[in-house]
Amino acid sequence: MDKIKVLKKINRLAKEMGRDVNLMEVCGTHTQAISRCGIRKILPKNINLITGPGCPVCVTAQKDIDAIINLALNGIPVATYGDLLRVPGYFGSLDDAREKGAKVFDVYSIEDALKLEEKYSGLVFFGLGFETTTPMTAWAIKKAYQSGRQGLTVYSTHKLFLPAMKALLSLGEVKIDGFIDPGHVSVIIGEKPYEELNAAQVITGFEEEDVLIGIFMLLKQIKNNEKKVENQYIRVVKKDGNKSARKIIDEVFEIGDGNWRGFGVVPGSGLEIKKKYKKFDAKRKYKNILDKIDFSRSKDPTGCKCGEVIRGIMNSRGCPMFKKVCTPDNPVGPCMVSVEGACNNYFRESK
């Protein structure tokens, strides 16, 4: 199967359809793959790839960013995954807090946070991401529970991904003909949960050929008026997903309301730590500090269009600040900060 052959098929289908077709990718790693491989440039003009809410750092609500920065500024050691440190909140970023002397650490894995906690007692791990990163956080909480130590606490902003896709469809602000489903969320949840969306979807991998074949399969469905969940990435995504990972999520987390940048509160989309593990819940342990924060100013930065970009109703290039005021070196919003963000990728693509 070579790229040229698949592209020819895509071109043929696009021509036969003869209308604009909007495909949305909802995974930050797909956004990266599409930009790095220049896929947007080689597709026929009537096939539009729209970036959706797939970047975990980008969809983290301003309120949660401000909460964790305040904990750090109050002398509590904080650890989280890389890109989040640079997201500006009302009270600055975690990086700014570190410059002011706060103990802020970026980690590659939650195991590194567990090790850090041995040195920095009371450390809070800021848990973010969808089904792909939640099992690791659950594993660490269970590990701390079994050890009998206080261990680290977690400020959970973990989210379920499907409610965001449902929210996009029910808002109806952008016409979505088909979804390129998130590859690694699918590794965990499998194929079945997507069926309830009643939309054309293909789960695909991250190599150039995977994405192109995924697009071809999606166009074929759309042309035939089908609304199926197809899996191109069968070498990794099993039909039933990863049961061990889902089991550990269910053991430690319960469903709550998730707060998303761009969407606001989406009922049933958030994951909170169960009562059994409340000792490890930073929202309970540091309630007295969190309750004192004035969140009335936790709004998107002035002029920032990340909310619209996340919902797919604005292309990054349409933001008046894109490349002028807002750049990866001087980001205004999280979509320019994160290597998985739409603006960051469109910036690098246009260079």
Binding site: Y81, Y108, H184, V187, F206, Q232, N242
Partner: protein, 80 residues
Amino acid sequence: MEVCNVLIYEIMCLAFPGKIISIKSKEQATVDFDGVKKDVNISLVANAKKGDFVIIHAGFAIEKVEKSRKKEIDKILKDI
């Protein structure tokens, strides 16, 4: 391994495949990412063994990868 000229170690924070070269304990294994060796946590994957290819995300193996893409290619050929 390269994906559109980006070497894997540049994007190791994201999910990438590697081969288990030794099992160190019930939870830990050493994985070879095309020459770069790293210890990863294997607790989320049932029955991970030496020689298995696994997808690694944030320091954890999240699924085994089938070495052959035969099934995929068969399916796609049928589709096309």
